[in-house]
Amino acid sequence: MILLRCPYCREMRSEAELTWGGEAGIMRPADPAIASDTEWTEYLFMRTNTKGWLQEQWCCSAGCGQWFKVERHTVSHQIRQILRFDEAFSDVTIAQEGAA
């Protein structure tokens, strides 16, 4: 069971209270009309499917309803960073990738 402390309401939330939103940092093409089919389908469907540290979107759905970002290890469920949605992941920990 995933447990995350929401960075907005500061409550420790259990899995039932959370919604997973897939990989973080997926950029919607600024002008979809001029995006090529490839660009658009990359945006829609292509994900890294990482085994290891993954930056994700989560929502405190049964709590304060806010979306936030989490760096989670997809095998061990260790959590390395929890950020508000407008915050950037720290590079320091990204550089440590594989170390943990």
Partner: protein
Amino acid sequence: MSLTGSKRRASGGHIDRSRPISFTWNGKKMQGFEGDSLASALIANGVGIVGRSFKYHRPRGFMALGAEDPNAMVSVRDAHGYTPSIRAGQMPLAEGMEVRSVTGWPSASFDIGALAGLGKPFFGAGFYYKTMMWPNWSWFEPIVRRATGFGRPDGSKESRAAQHQYQAVDVLVVGAGPAGLAAAQGLIGSGLSVLVAEQEQRPGGSLLWEEAEIDGKPGIAWAQDIAKEIKATPGMQILTSTLVAAAYDTNIFTLVQSVIDARGIAAERHITLHAKQVILASGAVERPLLFADNDRPGVMLAGAVRRLIRDYGVAPCKQLVVKTSNDSGWLTAFAAQDAGIKVVAILDTRPRAEAVHLAQAEALGIPVVFEAAITAMKAGRQLRGLTVSTPSGVRKFACDGLAVAGGWTPLIHLACHRGAKPVWNDALQMFTVPELPQGWQASGGVTGCTSLTEALGQSLQAAAKSSQRQAKATPLVKAPAFGGVSLIRRPSGVPANKVWIDHQNDVKLSDVEIAVRENYVSVEHLKRYTTLGMGTDQGRTSNVNGLAMLAHLTGREISEVGITTFRPMVSAIRMGTIAGGHEGDLIAPRRYLPADAVHRRLGADFEDFGWQRPDWYHRPDASDRDTAVALEMAAVRSDVGIFDGSSLGKVEVTGPDAAAFLARFYVSDMATLKPGSVRYSVMLNEEGVIYDDGVVACLGPNHYLAGPTSGHAEAVAAHFERWRQTEWPSSRVAVGNVTSNWCSIAVAGPRARHILAVLNPDFDISPAAFKHMQVREGSWQGIPLRVARVSFTGELQFEISVPSRYAEALYETLLKGDAAGAPRAIGMEAWLRLRLEKGYIHLGSDTNGRTGPTEVGMAALVAKRQDDFIGKRSLTLPFALSDEREQLVGLVAVSGKIEAGARVLAPGCTAPPCKTEGYVTSGCDSPTLGHPIGLALIERGFARQGEEVTLYSNGRTSRARITSPVFYDPENERLRQ
């Protein structure tokens, strides 16, 4: 023979001889005492054969006294319920229990299957894979099913109460044996919240039967004192009869606590526990030795014999031989001799033993044989003797009991649920988990430790680390040592098909040989091919021996062979306990309409559409559904009906950017919507598939009310929120879901305006002033009133909303009608058929996970939009433009019915198997039109107007013609009246 059976001793044990308990075994009356487990009571009563083995129907006796016992599966009916299959050792004895063997027919002690030799040519390793193959497997299955299995459900409803509970603690201590209790004692005064879970009814673990003195007290007294201290400490609790059944990520555990009273298991509590830290003190179980005929009843683990004597006051036999690979067997021999059992011999597989034990054996006059191997057993229904090969030749011993001690198997299951890796320790001859999950520590037998002093020291260290304090001093301990264990060896000089490894699943050494011969040399393959360790005992007594034999046969070390994956649950738990109170109306959250009481008074027949909604109404003129639905539809078409649509979503979208925000969600441009107007549209997901449909009303500047489909309101509000927060965070817009604040009652039919007039609203409702697709706000006698003129039925229709507290009043006021008559109450079925006649889509019925706006005829709307909206770009991807997309069309019956779900067969086909090109999404007999109609998603449907197709449903075929989906009033004249 006394009433309590021949094997109960006059004294000794922790049972209360002043409190007898009566029970029955296969209908025969028996008696035990308070403190007995079902297993100890049965053994005390002389029950030797408790069941039959899974495949060969061999007689099986008690091998152990807990969850590790592969044999003693029984069914139990106590005062609180029926348990079809449980190990006798896991059930505390209670007054009036009816206990039955669950294997063997007609009885466990006389089994026809065994007489007939059923299965002998049948069930070797790989049997299922070699035999259960199409088409023959269906022929074998019934025979195999009848001949095998444990216990039968009796068909009765689970009557035992079950309660769920969620709990968070600082430290979970698994086990209240000496190690667990010492750990808990070390945490007293730390201020941490601690839960100690013990599977047995009493704390103490091995101190209940092993000789030990701690802190100058008998071990069990020491244990009881600590248990009392824990109970008296605020924030600490000790739960007995509580199985820690599973460990999950982030230290979430499933615990099952049995609540036991004098008449059995009264209730169970399913606890979902979060623990910041864990001290695993789950102990170890003993494992048997491999030798010829080792599955005979009368062969028991040495520790179990000690427990029978010291904990339950039972002497299981008169003449005992002990066969051991470590000191455990010696301790059993001394305990047995002390209890008046004649110990015939100690057979040690090792070349020597501890001098202190040897001296004691000599003093007690017990013959000792080293490097001994049992080569044959003399046994019918009961063990009578055995043949032993020794370095000095073959010897025979007469005995009616054999205690075996083959070393220890730590109970590492929970750590392994979390992914901890079991590592073979060759010196200890066991798998342990040197690397534990984060926040975990372990102490005692689970670490492979067999010294009590060392175990207590480990526990106090663990407690110190958990509480970040100095460790308390280890108490002074006097207890016997267990010494080293000899290696697990393939028994020599005996045929492999006489050596049992898994007693529950009847896996023999010969089966492992077959598996190896057929190259199933990975442990996971061995397990599945032979079923080794796949029983309800999860191979606690058999896995390691099996792996050792696999290693031996493949010339590898056990460490190379490894062990199979441990999976939850640790031991079987009741389905009823998992279900808890989730049954009937409580199976999942139910939603009730605000005017629910009125619908019940009106005789509604309810259906669950996410909400409990009237499907149709019983009336004097309508006692069955078809009649009622037809009359309800007729009322709307010719007069007026009222329908409770309160479940319809109401999501307020407000703020300076609200219009632009909404425009990004709907296929229609909501930014051009003027105050007082309503617009219908569909909303797509980013893949271009229809996600929701409904109307949006503009209530005023920067103020919109979106109407998602019933049951979708929360999802659509969350969908709006996600895009607002993550894609357009600077957009000045807010979303508020106010669905349940408002009831919505629809009035539909030619006389709808007359019924609305009954409310005497404070705004003009004349056709000229209040047009189709408009919304008005006002009041009804001072109450906020909102009316939208929209139509789902194709008739003139108003949706009237007031705060939900007035729902009953509004519905009843409307239902009274006017001087010209009362409207008829309309249920869901009539409502859906009315919209089907009109060709309006019902989201989720007429659309599926591939349906886009083009497929439901909205291509022109999409083409009109210059700006972007969610999903728009996906509509020009190649797959969206493919001409194989299923398009929504109407169907009119040519012959037969039109049933939802029917497949549309490809042209030229008359019956499956054949290609199909779509399916009927909605269908009914239209009372208005007088013939069956339907909607269907059909490949290239738009271009196939007028074509006749064959429909196939549940073995029936019918013919229909593809038409426009609008069957009724295509000019929209009626709804504009």
